[in-house]
C-alpha cells in the first residue's frame, strides 16, 4: 500500500515543508488551510505545470524515465530502476547526475516517497501526456498490435520490411511526439483498380503519400486513434514498444545531455565588446534625448484607441534620423522610465479633432538630463528590463488587422520581462565576452527550460536585437556593465523578500550603481574645451561639460553629434546668442577661454559684424514702432517689398511704425534678413528665451520587481509562519477524526433509535459543567438532514433550548438545538 502525498507531507519536518513552499511559491497563494489542501494543490495540474516549466531538459527526461519505469501494479518506481533506464543508452550520463536530477524532482515533490517506492504525481501525466515522446503501450491501444509486440523477432522483421518512406515516418514519430495526423481518407483502401504501390516519396505530404501510413497501419506498426467521433481526419499513434525498438541507437529516452550545449564561438575581446556596447549606449542616450526634445517641441497627440499614431512615429523617426522600430523602442523605454507621459489638453489646443491628450517629456526628464551619461543609460536599461511591453509588436497588425501603435495597450505583454531575463541570463552564464549566435541562444534556452522556450524563437531573437540596440550587449556578447546591471536587478529582487523595510537598498541613495560606474569608465570623459577652425566649425572632442554645452547651445548650430560634436557658428547662431543676452565681448571671451586653438580671424569678424548690426533696428511694443539710428537702414526697410504687408510708415527720419503687433513685425523683419531687437517702454532691450513645457511626473517602472508574474519570494520566517498555520489547521482536522466513539457513533451505535433519555441528560450535565469551566467539549449531534456530526467546541451558554458554543478552529459561534445533541464528552 502506497502512502498518499498528504500523509507524506504531514510526516515531514517543518524545514522540509518550508523548502517545498520556497521552491513552489505558487502553493501559498492563498495559504492552504491544512496539509491535505496543500497536497491537493501541489498535485493540481496548474501547479505541476508551473513546476515542470522551470525544469531543464535533463531533469525532465529523468522524470520521463521515472514515469516509464512505473510498476503497472502499484505505480511505484525506484531510483535504481530510473538510473538503469537513464544509463541504458550508448552515452550514459553520470549516475551522480541522474541521482541529482531525481533529488531535484523529489524536492519539488513531483516524485515522492522512499527511494525504493517512488511515486509520480499523477498530474504530470495530464500536463505532458507522452513520456519521453513515447506512445502508450501497445496493450492499451490495440490487441493485435500487442500480440505483434509480444513477439520481438516478428516485430523486428516487420520493421525491417518497412519501405523507406514508411520508415521515415516511423523515425519521425519515434523522435516524438508519437502521434501524427493523416489526411482524410489516407487510411481507407483506395478505390478498386487504383491500387497504388507504396510510393518512395519520403514526405507525408498528403495525397498518394498517405499510402506509407496505410502500410504501417496495415502492418500494425501504427495504431489509428479516434479522437472524438470524427474518423475523416485520422490520428495515428506509435506504440511504445515500437518506439523503444526504433530508439535502439540513442537509448530509450533519446539523446541525454546532462549539461547545457556548448557555444562554438570563441570569446571575443572583452574590451571590444564593452567598447561597442558603450558606443551604442551613448547613442541610445543621445537619441532618447533627441526624441524627447522632439516631443517637447511638438508633442505627439494620443490616439483615441491609445498610443501614438503611425504618422507621428514616422515623423519622430525621420527627424531623429532613426528607423521606426528603433524609434518605437526608445519611445517605449523612455515612457517606461517615466521620462515621457501624457498631458491632458483641455480645450482645442491642437488642430486635430478629438486629440485631447499629448505625449511629452515629464518633469522626471529634467532630472534625468542632469544625471551623468552612464546613469541616464542605466535608468533606460532598467526600464527596458522591467517593462512589460513587447515593442516588436509595434508596426505589426493585431487580430483584427489593425496596426499596433507605439505606447498602445496592444503591445502590453506581462511575460516579456521574464523572457528578457531568461535570454540575458543565458548570456550572463557564459564566459564573459562570448557571443553565441541566436540559434545557440535558442538551443541553450531549450535545454534550460524546454517547456518555456518552445516556440518562442521570435521573442528571444527580439530580446537579443533590443539588447544590442540598447547597448546591453556589444558585438553579440553581454557587456561587463550589462552583466553588473543584470546581477544587480536579480539580487535586488531576491533581497526584496528578506528586506521588506529596504534597509539595504542603495538604488535610491543617489550613488551610481556598479553598472553605471563600470559604464562610466568606458565612456569618454567630459571635456571643457573645443577647437575652433577657419571654416567656422567648433569641434568638441568629447561630450561637453554641462556649462560648455549650454554655451554652445546658445551660440552655435549643432552639425554632427556622437562621441564628439561639431558645431557651426553662423550669422543666425551669433544673432541668437546676442538675442538671448550675450554681448559681443562675452562671445569673444567664451571662444578665447574655451578654445585650445587660436581663434581664426573670420570668426572674430563674424561676431563683430553681427554684433555691430545686431540691435541696429529697434522694435517697440507701444504702437509697434520701428526705429533705427541708421537712416539708410530705415529707408531700406521702408523700401523692402517683402515688408509691404506690414504697411510701415515713416514717423521720423529714423523711426517707422506699423499698426500690427510687435510679434508680427519682428517675424517679418527677421524673415527678411534684418536683425531687429525688441525694446520695452523705457528703451531697454527685451530678451526672449523659449519656454519649455513638461508633462506631470510619472513613476518609473524600475520601482517594480523584475518579473510581475513571478510570485513573491517569501522569507524563511514567513514561510515558517505559513507552515505553522497549515500545521494548526491540520491538527484540528486530525483532531476532528479523533472524536470519542461515544460522540461519533452516538446515534449509530444504538441503531438510529430515539436517543435514550439518560444519555441526553448526561450530555446536558456535561455541557453545563463545561460552560462553567470554559472547557472544550466534543458535541455529537444530528443535523437538519438527519446526519450525525461531531464538533469540538467551547460552550458559551445554554438557554431556551439552545446551546451556543464557539468552534476554536473556525473561530465561529455555533448554535445547536439541545434536542438534537446526542452526546457530549469533555475533551481531554
Amino acid at each position: 500500500m502506497t502512502t498518499s502525498l498528504a500523509d507524506h507531507l504531514r510526516s515531514l519536518p517543518d524545514e522540509s515543508l518550508a523548502a517545498l513552499l520556497q521552491l513552489r511559491p505558487d502553493l501559498v497563494v492563498p495559504v492552504p488551510a491544512d496539509v491535505s489542501a496543500l497536497a491537493i494543490r501541489a498535485q493540481s495540474r496548474v501547479s505541476v505545470a508551473r513546476a515542470l516549466d522551470g525544469l531543464d531538459q535533463f531533469t525532465l527526461q529523468i522524470l520521463d524515465a521515472a514515469r516509464l519505469t512505473r510498476n503497472p501494479d502499484d505505480g511505484t518506481t525506484a531510483t535504481d530502476t530510473v538510473l538503469a533506464m537513464a544509463t541504458a543508452g550508448p552515452q550514459p550520463p553520470a549516475p551522480t547526475a541522474v541521482r541529482a536530477a531525481v533529488g531535484r524532482l523529489r524536492a519539488l515533490f513531483l516524485l515522492y516517497g522512499p527511494e525504493h517506492a517512488l511515486q509520480v504525481v499523477p498530474a504530470v501525466d495530464e500536463v505532458a501526456p507522452y513520456p519521453a515522446g513515447l506512445g502508450r503501450p501497445a496493450a492499451e491501444l490495440d490487441p493485435r498490435t500487442a500480440s505483434l509486440c509480444a513477439d520481438p523477432a516478428k516485430l523486428r522483421r516487420t520493421l525491417l520490411a518497412a519501405p523507406p518512406s514508411a520508415r521515415a515516418i516511423l523515425d519521425r514519430l519515434a523522435a516524438g511526439p508519437p502521434v501524427g495526423s493523416v489526411p482524410p481518407g489516407a487510411l481507407q483502401a483506395p478505390p478498386l483498380g487504383a491500387e497504388d504501390p507504396v510510393l518512395s516519396d519520403p514526405t507525408n505530404g498528403g495525397g498518394p503519400a498517405g499510402s506509407p501510413v496505410r502500410w504501417l497501419v496495415d502492418n500494425r506498426l501504427l495504431v489509428p486513434v479516434t479522437t472524438g467521433s470524427s474518423t475523416a481526419a485520422g490520428t495515428v499513434e506509435l506504440p511504445r514498444e515500437v518506439g523503444l525498438l526504433l530508439r535502439r541507437d540513442s537509448g530509450p529516452l533519446g539523446p541525454l545531455r546532462t549539461s547545457p550545449p556548448r557555444v562554438a564561438a570563441a570569446p571575443r575581446e572583452p574590451k571590444a565588446v564593452d567598447s561597442a556596447g558603450a558606443g551604442q549606449a551613448m547613442e541610445v542616450v543621445r537619441h532618447t534625448e533627441g526624441l524627447l526634445e522632439q516631443l517637447a517641441d511638438e508633442p505627439a497627440p494620443v490616439l483615441r484607441s491609445g498610443g501614438i499614431g503611425v504618422r507621428d512615429l514616422r515623423r519622430l523617426a525621420r527627424t531623429a534620423g532613426l528607423d521606426e522600430p528603433m524609434t518605437a523602442l526608445l519611445l517605449e523605454v523612455a515612457y517606461a522610465a517615466g521620462l515621457a507621459g501624457e498631458l491632458e489638453m483641455p480645450g482645442a489646443t491642437t488642430s486635430r479633432y478629438g486629440a485631447d491628450q499629448q505625449v511629452l517629456p515629464t518633469g522626471g526628464y529634467e532630472v534625468w538630463r542632469a544625471a551623468s551619461l552612464a546613469q541616464r543609460w542605466e535608468q533606460l536599461a532598467r526600464a527596458w528590463l522591467t517593462m512589460t511591453r513587447q515593442v516588436g509588436l509595434v508596426g505589426r497588425r493585431d487580430d483584427r488587422d489593425r496596426p499596433i501603435t507605439a505606447l498602445s495597450a496592444e503591445a502590453e505583454r506581462a511575460g516579456v520581462p521574464a523572457t528578457r531575463r531568461a535570454v540575458l541570463g543565458v548570456l550572463a552564464d557564459l564566459e564573459p565576452a562570448t557571443a553565441p549566435s541566436p540559434e545557440e541562444v535558442q538551443d541553450l534556452l531549450d535545454w534550460r527550460a524546454p517547456r518555456r522556450s518552445r516556440g518562442r524563437d521570435a521573442a528571444h531573437r527580439e530580446v537579443l536585437a533590443e539588447a544590442a540596440q540598447l547597448g546591453v550587449t556589444g558585438l553579440g556578447a553581454l557587456t561587463s556593465y550589462g552583466r553588473l546591471l543584470l546581477g544587480d536587478l536579480t539580487s535586488t529582487d531576491e533581497r526584496n523578500g528578506d528586506d521588506p523595510l529596504g534597509v539595504h537598498a542603495d538604488i535610491e541613495s543617489g550613488d551610481p550603481s556598479g553598472a553605471a560606474r563600470a559604464l562610466d569608465a568606458l565612456l569618454p570623459a567630459p571635456v571643457d574645451h573645443f577647437l575652433v577652425q577657419a571654416d567656422l566649425t567648433v569641434v568638441v572632442p568629447g561630450p561637453p561639460e554641462p556649462a560648455l554645452g549650454v554655451e554652445l547651445e546658445a551660440m552655435t548650430e549643432l552639425e554632427s553629434a556622437g562621441g564628439a560634436s561639431v558645431h557651426r557658428v553662423t550669422t543666425a547662431s551669433v544673432r541668437r546668442a546676442l538675442d538671448s543676452g550675450y554681448t559681443a565681448d562675452d562671445l569673444h571671451d567664451v571662444f578665447r577661454r574655451r578654445s585650445r586653438t587660436p581663434i581664426p580671424q573670420g570668426l572674430t569678424y563674424l561676431v563683430d559684424d553681427v554684433a555691430r548690426k545686431h540691435g541696429g533696428l529697434r522694435v517697440g511694443l507701444a504702437g509697434a514702432y520701428l526705429r533705427s539710428d541708421d537712416e539708410t537702414l530705415i529707408s531700406e526697410v521702408l523700401a523692402d517689398r517683402r515688408l509691404e504687408s506690414l504697411a510701415l510708415r515713416r514717423l521720423a527720419p529714423t523711426v517707422l511704425c506699423t499698426q500690427y503687433q510687435v510679434g508680427r513685425l519682428l517675424g517679418a523683419l527677421r524673415d527678411a534678413g534684418y536683425a531687429p531687437v525688441q525694446e520695452d517702454g523705457t528703451g531697454s532691450t527685451v530678451l526672449t528665451r523659449p519656454r519649455i513645457r513638461r508633462a506631470p511626473p510619472r513613476v518609473s517602472v524600475t520601482t517594480r520587481t523584475l518579473d510581475p508574474l513571478a510570485a513573491p519570494k517569501l522569507p524563511m520566517p514567513r514561510l515558517l509562519g505559513v507552515v505553522e498555520h497549515i500545521r494548526r489547521g491540520d491538527a484540528a482536522a486530525r483532531a476532528a477524526r479523533r472524536a470519542p466513539a461515544v460522540v461519533r457513533g452516538g446515534a449509530a451505535g444504538l441503531g438510529g433509535g430515539p436517543v435514550p433519555a439518560h444519555t441526553h441528560s448526561e450530555a446536558l450535565a456535561v455541557l453545563q459543567q463545561a460552560v462553567r469551566d470554559k472547557a472544550l467539549v466534543w458535541v455529537g449531534y444530528v443535523d437538519a438532514h438527519g446526519a450525525t456530526a461531531s464538533r469540538l467546541v467551547k460552550p458559551v451558554s445554554i438557554g431556551a433550548g439552545y446551546l451556543r458554543a464557539e468552534d476554536e478552529r473556525t473561530e465561529m459561534l455555533h448554535t445547536f438545538a439541545l434536542h438534537r445533541v446526542t452526546a457530549a464528552v469533555l475533551a481531554d
Partner: protein
C-alpha cells in the same frame, strides 16, 4: 580610453585630429573607404558613404579591415550599430557579378541566390535581363551593361563588373620622358604614376587630383599604357587645345595623329578630342554627333572634369561599357548629386590625394587667401538698400569703390602675373579701362584668346581681366596672383576652379596670392563667406583686411 586620433560620429562622419601623433597613419588607414569632406586646419572630416565603402570594396578592402581600422584609431567607443551598418553595406558590393560566359556571353552571376531573385523581380530591371540560365545566372543583353549597373546601384546591390574590355584598335603611344623637340627631359611624378597604375589595375574608374596636379599627364600616361586609339572628352575647345598641346609635347603623338572634334572642326583621328558641348548639341531633337562614339574602335575613353559631365553623356557612356574609361576630376562632388552614375558608369574611384598633401610635396604652390573688404560710399549704400532683390548682388559686387582697391592690389605685385576675375561684363570693361589691361570674355574669339594667353604666358601682358570663361580648364601658367571681384553667387565649384588658376606650380616656388574683393555689409559678404568656407574646408586659412589698409600706406601707429 585608447586616445586615438579619430572620433567616429553616429552620423557616419569621422573626425580626424591632425595634430595627433597617429594622425598620418590613421589617415592612410581610413582614406581608402572614407571620403574627405573638409580639411580645415585642426580637425579633418571624413564621411562614410555607401559609395565610398563600395569604392573601397572594389579596391579589395574588406569589411573586417574597415571595422578594424575604425576601432583601432577611434578615441571613443564606436557605436555597435554603425559597425554593423558598415559591414552590411560593404557586403552588398559584389554579391552580383557581371561576367563573360564562354557559352552565353554577358551574364549576371549571383554569389547569393536570394539577391538575384530579389533584383530579378524588380520593376527597375525590366527588359534588361534575358533568360535564366540556371539558378545563379541570368543572361544580360550586352547593350544593357551600363544601364543594368546603374539600376543595380540604385537598388543598393552594386554589381562587380568582371566582363572585361575590348582592346580597341591598337595605336602606338609612348610617353616622351626623354624630352622631345629639344625640350628638357621629365618624369611622371610619383603620385601620377600611382594613379595610372591604380587605374590600369582596376580597368576603369576615376582619378581624383586637385587642379594643377597634372591630370592631363595622368591621361597621357593611361594612353601610353593602353596603346590604343583614344577618345578624349573635354569641357570646351580651349581645354581641348590645351590637351592637344600637352599631348604633343609629352608623348610620341604628332600633330597629325590628334584630331579635334568641336563646333569649328570635325576631325576624327587615332586620338580625338571632343567637347561635351558638341556631343550634346541637338538638331531637331536628335543628338547629331553620336556617330563619333562608333567612328573608330576606341580602346580608351578619357573624361576630363567628370564632375561636370552633362547628363546626356552618361546615357552615351552606358553604351560604352566594353571600353576602358578613365575619369579625371578635382572633386567627385557633383552639384547635381549624380555621383552614383559616375560610380556605376565610369567606375569606382581609383586614386585620390588630398590637396594639402600634394601641396606639401611641393607640386602646387601654397596660396595665401585674403579677403579685402571695401566700404561702400553712402550713395552706393543707399542705392543698394533700395534695389530689387535680384539686383542686389550685382549692385554690391560691381561697386565702383572696388576699382581703386583692385588697382592697389595689382600694384602690390609689380613682378607677378595677375589675373582679375569677374562675372559681370560691365564691371570687367570698367576694370579693363581702369587697369589698362586686355579683357577675355565669352565673345572673344578663340584666336584672340590664344593670342592673349600666349602674350600672358610670355609675360608681354602682365595683367589680364577674364570673365566666367576663365573658370574652366584653361591653362594659365605662372599666374601668381588672382583677384576676384565678383562671381556666380556662392558657387563652391567656381571657387575651386579660380583657386586652381593660381595653384599651378611656380618655377621659383613663389607665394601665390588669391584676393577676393567684397563690399562690406552686403550680400556680397555673405556669398564670400560661403565661398571662403569652402577654402577653409580645403585647409586654406584666409585673412580679412580692410580696404583702407590696402589703399593707403599704413598709418604710423603710436605705441
Amino acid at each position: 580610453m585608447s586616445g586615438g586620433p579619430l572620433i567616429v560620429q553616429s552620423d557616419k562622419t569621422l573626425l580626424l585630429e591632425i595634430d595627433h601623433p597617429d594622425a598620418q597613419a590613421c589617415r592612410m588607414a581610413i582614406a581608402p573607404f572614407a571620403e574627405l569632406e573638409r580639411s580645415p586646419e585642426h580637425v579633418h572630416t571624413y564621411r562614410l558613404t555607401p559609395l565610398g565603402l563600395w569604392n573601397a570594396r572594389a579596391a579589395g578592402h574588406d569589411a573586417e579591415g574597415v571595422v578594424d581600422s575604425l576601432i583601432k584609431y577611434s578615441r571613443y567607443p564606436v557605436p555597435h550599430a554603425l559597425l554593423v551598418d558598415v559591414a552590411d553595406t560593404m557586403d552588398r558590393y559584389g554579391r552580383l557579378q557581371l561576367a563573360n560566359d564562354p557559352a552565353y556571353g554577358l551574364v549576371l552571376r549571383a554569389l547569393d541566390r536570394l539577391v538575384l531573385i530579389e533584383v530579378a523581380k524588380s520593376k527597375k530591371l525590366a527588359g534588361m535581363l534575358g533568360d535564366k540560365i540556371d539558378d545563379d545566372t541570368i543572361r544580360v543583353h550586352p547593350s544593357e551593361r551600363g544601364r543594368l549597373k546603374q539600376a543595380l546601384l540604385k537598388l543598393g546591390w552594386p554589381a562587380e563588373d568582371l566582363a572585361g574590355y575590348v582592346d580597341g584598335e591598337a595605336h602606338p603611344i609612348e610617353l616622351a620622358e626623354a624630352g622631345k623637340d629639344g625640350r628638357k627631359p621629365w618624369t611622371l611624378r610619383s603620385y601620377q604614376r600611382e594613379a595610372v597604375e591604380a587605374f590600369w589595375a582596376g580597368g576603369s574608374g576615376v582619378v581624383v587630383l586637385p587642379c594643377g596636379a597634372g591630370k592631363t599627364l595622368v591621361g597621357a600616361a593611361a594612353m601610353a599604357e593602353a596603346k590604343a586609339t583614344t577618345l578624349i572628352l573635354v569641357t570646351n575647345t580651349v581645354a581641348g587645345r590645351q590637351w592637344k598641346r600637352e599631348l604633343i609635347a609629352r608623348t610620341s603623338l604628332t600633330e597629325e595623329e590628334i584630331g579635334e572634334y568641336s563646333g569649328e572642326r570635325k576631325e576624327i583621328r587615332p586620338v580625338t578630342i571632343a567637347t561635351y558641348q558638341v556631343l550634346t548639341s541637338r538638331r531637331g531633337g536628335a543628338f547629331t554627333h553620336l556617330d563619333l562614339f562608333g567612328a573608330r574602335d576606341w580602346g580608351l575613353v578619357v573624361y576630363d572634369e567628370v564632375h561636370l559631365l552633362p547628363a546626356p553623356i552618361f546615357r552615351f557612356t552606358a553604351d560604352l561599357q566594353a571600353r576602358r574609361r578613365l575619369g579625371l576630376t578635382a572633386t567627385l562632388v557633383r552639384e547635381d548629386g549624380r555621383e552614383g552614375d559616375v560610380f556605376s558608369l565610369i567606375g569606382p574611384k581609383r586614386y585620390d590625394a588630398p590637396w594639402k598633401d600634394i601641396e606639401s610635396q611641393g607640386w602646387i604652390a601654397p596660396a595665401e587667401c585674403t579677403e579685402v573688404r571695401v566700404t561702400l560710399t553712402d550713395a552706393e549704400r543707399m542705392s543698394y538698400a533700395t534695389a530689387e532683390a535680384e539686383e542686389r548682388y550685382r549692385m554690391a559686387a560691381t561697386a565702383r569703390t572696388k576699382l581703386p582697391v583692385v588697382k592697389a592690389l595689382v600694384d602690390r605685385h609689380p613682378d607677378d602675373q595677375v589675373l582679375v576675375i569677374g562675372a559681370y561684363i560691365d564691371q570687367l570693361h570698367q576694370l579693363g579701362e581702369y587697369l589698362d589691361a586686355p579683357i577675355i570674355q565669352g565673345s572673344t574669339t578663340n584666336k584672340e584668346r590664344e593670342r592673349l594667353f600666349d602674350a600672358f604666358r610670355t609675360g608681354e601682358i602682365r595683367t589680364l581681366v577674364i570673365s566666367k570663361v576663365g573658370n574652366f580648364s584653361i591653362d594659365l601658367p605662372e599666374a601668381a596672383v588672382a583677384i576676384q571681384v565678383s562671381g556666380t553667387f556662392g558657387s563652391r565649384q567656381e571657387e575651386a576652379q579660380r583657386l586652381g588658376r593660381v595653384l599651378r606650380p611656380k618655377a621659383d616656388g613663389r607665394q601665390a596670392h588669391f584676393y577676393t574683393v567684397v563690399s562690406r555689409d552686403t550680400i556680397d559678404t555673405e556669398y564670400a563667406a560661403h565661398r571662403q568656407r569652402f577654402l577653409a574646408e580645403q585647409g586654406y586659412a584666409y585673412t580679412i583686411v580692410d580696404a583702407d589698409d590696402v589703399l593707403g600706406p599704413k598709418l604710423p601707429t603710436v605705441d
